[in-house]
Symmetry: C2
Subunit: 221 residues, 2 copies
């Protein structure tokens, strides 16, 4: 019979640098998201991988660099997802609503990423600042917003003076808050913002909010 404690080796290799590093990053992502930067334990990350703490230092250098690597990969996933956005065949109103909905979905599907961003903000975004990759990662979603907005403004559908970065902030704020602050909000107001039964309600609310803001005639300034 086959030994029970012999670990599975999916690709047949006992030594596999890429797989070991990926496994460390997976577990580290969970651990940092669970407990925050200082609350996370390097020993705990090591214990939950098939490798040892020594390897974490071998590949990443230290806890700080490991967290940076976790952030880099998490932001990379976001960018890759955003690059597959396909909304520009829609009319501007439908395109913006769809983009908001996809942003909404993405936040809901990646609570660990939201937590990492919260944690990084607690630390003043110092790891992003220290990362070469993250400095020039860009935002495909922002480019999409920029183009839709220009098109909608040109055709007179949208209010003229709305900025793409501001609109992105508005959409992100709603999506982010709903996930990031669900615990305190739930405890204080007795309402779970991530209750599946309320999902469609909040998704529609976001779309309505953005579209009414974009299409309203604003008082002359």
């Amino acid at each position: 019979m086959t030994s029970v404690d012999e670990p599975a080796r999916p690709n047949g290799r006992i030594r596999d640098a890429a797989r070991t590093q990926a496994e460390i990053l997976d577990v580290a992502t969970q651990e940092f998201a669970r407990a925050g930067y200082d609350g996370a334990r390097v020993d705990e990350i090591a214990a939950r991988t098939r490798t040892t703490k020594r390897m974490i230092y071998y590949y990443f250098g230290g806890k700080e660099q490991l967290f940076t690597a976790v952030l880099e990969r998490a932001y990379g996933v976001i960018r890759d997802t955003e690059q597959q956005l396909d909304v520009e065949h829609l009319d501007p109103v439908a395109a913006i609503r769809r983009l908001a909905e996809l942003t909404f979905d993405h936040h809901e599907q990646h609570p660990d990423f939201i937590r990492l961003v919260s944690i990084e903000n607690i630390h003043g975004a110092e790891h992003i600042a220290a990362s070469e990759k993250l400095g020039k990662i860009g935002s495909p979603a922002l480019d999409v917003i920029r183009r839709i907005l220009a098109s909608g403004q040109e055709s007179g559908l949208f209010t003229a003076d709305v900025d793409a970065v501001d609109l992105h902030a508005m959409i992100s704020a709603f999506c982010f808050f709903r996930v990031a602050n669900r615990h305190t909000f739930g405890a204080l107001f007795g309402r779970d913002l991530v209750d599946p039964a309320q999902r469609e309600h909040y998704r529609a609310m976001l779309g309505d909010m953005v579209i009414t803001y974009l299409t309203a005639e604003r008082a002359a300034q």
Copy 2:
């Protein structure tokens, strides 16, 4: 000449339990907001007060309870501020806008509080759950919203199906995100959401967003 290292004793008392506790809470608020729960150091808090670590344990019991006490006081300040809200003499549209602006101002003026809330969410709001005070603290602002909303809906100014808690979430999301995520947002998009020169712009944006959402005629559902 007077000894330089003799600390000032403003009220003449050397032993003053209330002042000692308040001083511990002040410093602990800064330290927890600076570094997060696990990043905060009890020794550091003690060093920055005129008392010793022993007194922190004497009065609060431990680090966990100290953080809970910090949260309780911070939320208490919010509630007291909200209780002084005076917007209901305005017409519903102006009242909601004014309320949103005051929420905006309050978030901007209390970044430490925002950080504490972020930290508490990282930890699943477990300290709020453990606190008797915080369970029943209520929210005067929410009561105000509820009344203005009802009045505006009755007079047909506001869309009928908007809920007070949802509106409060919408306003808070914008205000919270702007302060809480300013570091990552700034690093990634090169825009400081808390730049004083942009303050009026974002304040107006929030008001416009809320009012256009509330007064739009929504498509029949």
